[in-house]
Amino acid sequence: MNANSVSSRIQLALLLLFLQSGILGQTPNERVQSITSALQDREFGKALQSVQSALQGSPNNPQLWMLQGLAYSGTGDSKSALGSYQHALKISPDYLPALEGAAQIEYEAGSKDAIPLLEHVLKIRPNDVTSHAMIAVLAEKNGDCATAVSHFSKSGPILDSQPEALQGYGVCLLELKQTDEAIQVFQQLMTSQPNDTRCRRALAAIQLAAGRPQDALTTLQPLLASDPDVSTMRLAAAVYEANKDTPNAVKILRDAIVKDPRQTALYADFAELAMDHQSFQTGVEMIDAGLKLQPGAAQLYVARGVLYVQLADYDKAGADFEKAEELDPKEGMSAAAQSMLAEEQNQSDPQRALATVRAKLAKQPQEAFLWYLQAAILSQNSAEPGSTEFQQGLDSAKRAVTLQPSLIAAHNVLAKYYFAAGQNELAVKECRIVLEKDPSDQSALYHLVIALRKTDSQGEIPDLLKRLAKARQEATRLEGERNRYKLVVSSSEPTK
């Protein structure tokens, strides 16, 4: 929402309202006319003098306080302006021009305090699209997408001229998994700004996330037809892969690497592609090439270490994880990887793996993934609920989800602990958290079915069973797709 345009619109509205209202009946006409004339002529100092003089005679007149607010606003003294509006509202809480004036100032400051004022406006004038739009923008900035979407949807055509607000609307719809609606919003944006590359990429990304890779490719085509930037090429690689066109995914990723060989994310993308296609050695070779150019890229060492693990080359994997930690000690991923490696190497000796995880945790107690790992390793021992080991595992899982609520693996393992302890309600809650993030998570769906079986709320089970069946089929299908190609490294390496 463009603050200036809204501001001028509101000020104009205030003046018009003021001039048309009957409030002048309580104030000497000449004095008020002099104030409004001064405001219209942008003689804010003069207006201020007049209004302050009038207030001495009528200190409980909300209209005069509101006019003072307008005058202060004109001088750029927002604080005093806000104080004036607030004073007017103390006298007359439903006084619309003061509400709008105060809301405008709070909105421009990006303050949440604008929201109750705007809501108050909406109580008086429920169809005020500007107030809806302003609440929506603020809510979106505050991460409250549910509120944002609710108000955006009532903002009407005012959004057409507000591309940033429209983009926020689209992002929130995506956040709420209303992907079809999000796509519509971004398509609207694209219509108004066909040459906006970022907007086009965003639309393609949403289409990809919505499982419409063919639409995403169509959206990207104009960009790909010219000289795409590396960000577009990265996205295009993902789109090609989703379209089962692995050769083109590989090609464009290679082209991107040639174009910007120092961008480490591209090598990581390639490694991911290699991982998906079980082409681990190919992934290693590409990362090798990246490391020649970016020997300090910790992320690449982690990625290569992961590939080495797939090849069961644990020594090399361990060396890479250690190197990553050395290069970026604060980067928790390498510590987590080292811990997982310990687990992998010591499958028959979980205590040893646990010792590694605990050593890492001592250094990085805020690393959620390590707490998750500890919980997962402990859960493999099927300790009896009530035992020390069980409690440690449960506590670790709780800690992991507290530190990183988005770590759904940890929610899954926590659900399993609750399930084992017979705390079905809590298990159900954790499963639902997982499913909110990933509606097709098979473990969560299954645990939810089993947990609900043991409760009185079994009505949901048939639908969950259908979802589980669909998730299984989809997982099988995707795995089949991934294995259609094996990647190989060609002789051409980036040389820049």
Binding site: Q310, A337, A376, S379, Q442, S443, H447, I461, N483
Partner: protein, 586 residues
């Protein structure tokens, strides 16, 4: 929650927490690590198993597909076997199924019936009995479908299944056509089967699971698709990537014929499964038989009996369809028994290499909890596992778990020697506290010997009061593991004879009370892997010298027999009680 090598993808891809299953192959396996083995209990195990097949005269190899490589999955899954007293002489005879070869039928390729000579040896009476048959046989179930007092045989095939009526004179007559069991349309792949009196009319009905809709014409070959590779080695394809089979239920009309009632009974609703071994028993103890089907790489099925001729499939909800983390597994064989002595029928299901076999505890209402790790059977993931039993091998009163193993990919070990084709048998002794201990050399060379085995059946072929094991080995003669049990543990065998119920009493549930223990067993016509056990229910009694038994007959009748002395076979006739044994000699 298990961490595996592929869990690293969580790190690299910042992926969702969805468990990453090893679906990069034709058969589902979770690729998980075994749980650590606990310290040995140090307790003696008195059973020793010796393979006496050769001395017993079981010389003929069981032909099944290629020896060094297998082009199609049809060659890989093998077949079952049965202990059957076909001549009612009180001694268990042996029936072994057989496959053939793609390039043509070798002379040895036939199912075989071996008559028990009552001296530890057997005589091949296949031809005399009229049972010579060549083809791709898979499963066998045994039961007296015409209630004439002689057990009949049903065999599943890729192609046409076969019903053999026991004529009571040492011969059988194939009655498939007369019984109305001929298939029409393309060849089906009959897999598991079970005689089950689902409508409690006293006549054994027939359930047949089907594996794949397979045709040589359309089947892909090794390496052709993603489901035709295993760890980078081209192998036979499937079951993933191939169309699923359709299961069938046939109602016995009581006149020697059957009518297919698959649709009416609601069985046809389960369309997305690769069905294998079938076990029919009353899992929810409501007096009506339910049907469990172990399924390969798809959720296993549990058909609950609605008491009105129909079933509802509830495997997932009841906890026996998927792993405890909701993943598909390669369900092959099934053991049924009461491992925790709570009077309810539990299940043990075998799976593919790099996965645990699953132990499922029944609460008596057919709600199952997977207790694999809690029971410590999760210590073993090295082998692809097949025929299984939950049987008391040392007569200590606690059912043990035994299963046979063997890879489906003979060509792999040339490239990956860590995955041999022939692998040993697995024995978990029940420690009596809800957990098991894996035994290897302690149980004799018969356990340690490596074969690529499939079906196995449990029975007392030498009538010496302990359970022996008959095993199908691929392209080798079978194994007959004689149990040479030491010590003074007691036992009891129960032979049931239905009157209002079907004559074989298949579907009966028996609860033995001995000492302060209770143990449930079910009389089923198929379990293990496509196989049929000795129909005489065998209870180890430990130190107890007598037992009482509750019999829940398939007709709905409940009878209790008190104070039965140990170390004997008793035959119990429905509504009559104990009657003289037929031909039982020790």
């Amino acid at each position: 929650m298990t961490i595996s090598r592929r869990s690293f993808v969580l790190l690299s891809l910042c992926a969702s927490a969805q468990q990453l299953v090893g679906q990069d192959q034709g058969i589902a396996s979770r690729n998980i690590a075994a749980q650590p083995k606990p310290a040995p209990s140090g307790r003696p195990f008195n059973a020793r198993f010796t393979d006496v097949a050769k001395e017993a005269g079981l010389h003929a190899p069981i032909i099944y597909g290629g020896v060094d490589s297998k082009k199609y999955i049809l060659e890989a899954n093998g077949c079952g076997c049965a202990f059957i007293d076909y001549d009612n002489d009180g001694w268990m005879d042996i029936f072994l199924l057989s496959g053939t070869r793609l390039e043509g039928d070798p002379p040895e390729a036939t199912n075989r019936l071996y008559k028990n000579n009552r001296d530890g040896t057997f005589t091949d009476v296949t031809e005399k009995a009229g049972l010579k048959a060549v083809g791709w046989a898979n499963g066998v179930c045994v039961g007296d479908y015409n209630n004439d007092g002689f057990d009949d045989i049903f065999c599943t095939y890729f192609g046409q299944n076969r019903l053999y009526r026991n004529n009571g004179n040492g011969t059988f007559t194939e009655m498939t056509r007369e019984a109305g069991l001929l298939d029409s349309g393309p060849a089906r792949w009959g897999a598991g089967c079970a005689f089950v009196d689902y409508n409690r009319d006293g006549h054994l009905d027939l359930f047949v699971s089907n594996y794949i809709r397979f045709s040589f014409e359309h089947a892909p070959v090794p390496g052709e698709k993603s489901t035709c590779n295993w760890k980078g080695v081209p192998v036979n394809c499937g079951p993933r990537g191939l169309p699923t089979g359709r299961h069938s239920l046939y109602r016995n009309n009581g006149d020697g014929t059957f009518t297919e009632v698959t649709k009416q009974a609601g069985i046809d609703a389960a369309t997305e499964s690769y069905g294998m071994t079938v076990v029919a028993a009353d899992f929810d103890e409501d007096g009506w038989p339910d049907i469990f089907v172990a399924c390969d790489s798809t959720p296993s099925l549990l058909f609950m009996n609605n008491h009105d001729g129909t079933f509802r499939e509830e495997g997932v909800t009841r906890g026996v369809a998927l792993s405890d983390d909701g993943m598909e597994q390669a369900g092959m064989g099934v053991g049924i028994g009461d491992y925790n002595l709570d009077g309810h029928l539990d299940l043990f299901k075998t799976h593919f290499v790099s996965d645990t076999s699953g132990l499922y505890r029944n609460d008596g209402k057919a709600n199952f909890d997977e207790v694999t790790r809690a029971a410590k059977t999760g210590v073993e993931t090295r082998f692809t596992s097949w025929g299984a039993g939950m049987v008391d091998l040392d007569n200590d009163g606690y059912p043990d778990v035994f299963f046979v193993t063997g890879s489906v990919y003979p060509e792999v070990e040339k490239t990956l020697p860590q995955y041999p084709y022939k692998t040993p048998r697995v024995l978990f002794r029940n420690l009596g506290n809800g957990t098991f201990e894996e035994l290897e050399s302690q149980a004799g060379e018969g356990i340690m010997a490596a074969h690529s085995s499939r079906g196995c059946a449990f029975g007392d072929f030498d009538n010496d009061g302990d359970l022996d094991i008959l095993i199908v080995n691929m392209n080798e003669p079978p194994s007959l593991l004689r149990n040479d049990l030491q010590g003074k543990q007691n036992w009891l065998k129960i032979k049931l004879e239905g009157v209002k119920s079907n004559r074989s009493a298949i579907g009966a549930r028996v609860i033995a009370h001995y000492g302060n223990k209770v143990q449930a067993q079910a009389l089923v016509s198929q379990s293990s892997y496509y196989s049929c056990n000795d129909p005489r229910l065998h209870f180890g009694l430990g130190a107890s010298t007598e037992a009482a038994v509750d019999i829940y007959w398939p007709s709905g009748l409940h009878e209790r027999i008190q104070q039965i002395s140990a170390n004997q076979l008793v035959t119990i006739r429905e509504s009559t009680g104990i009657v003289p044994n037929r031909g039982w000699k020790r």
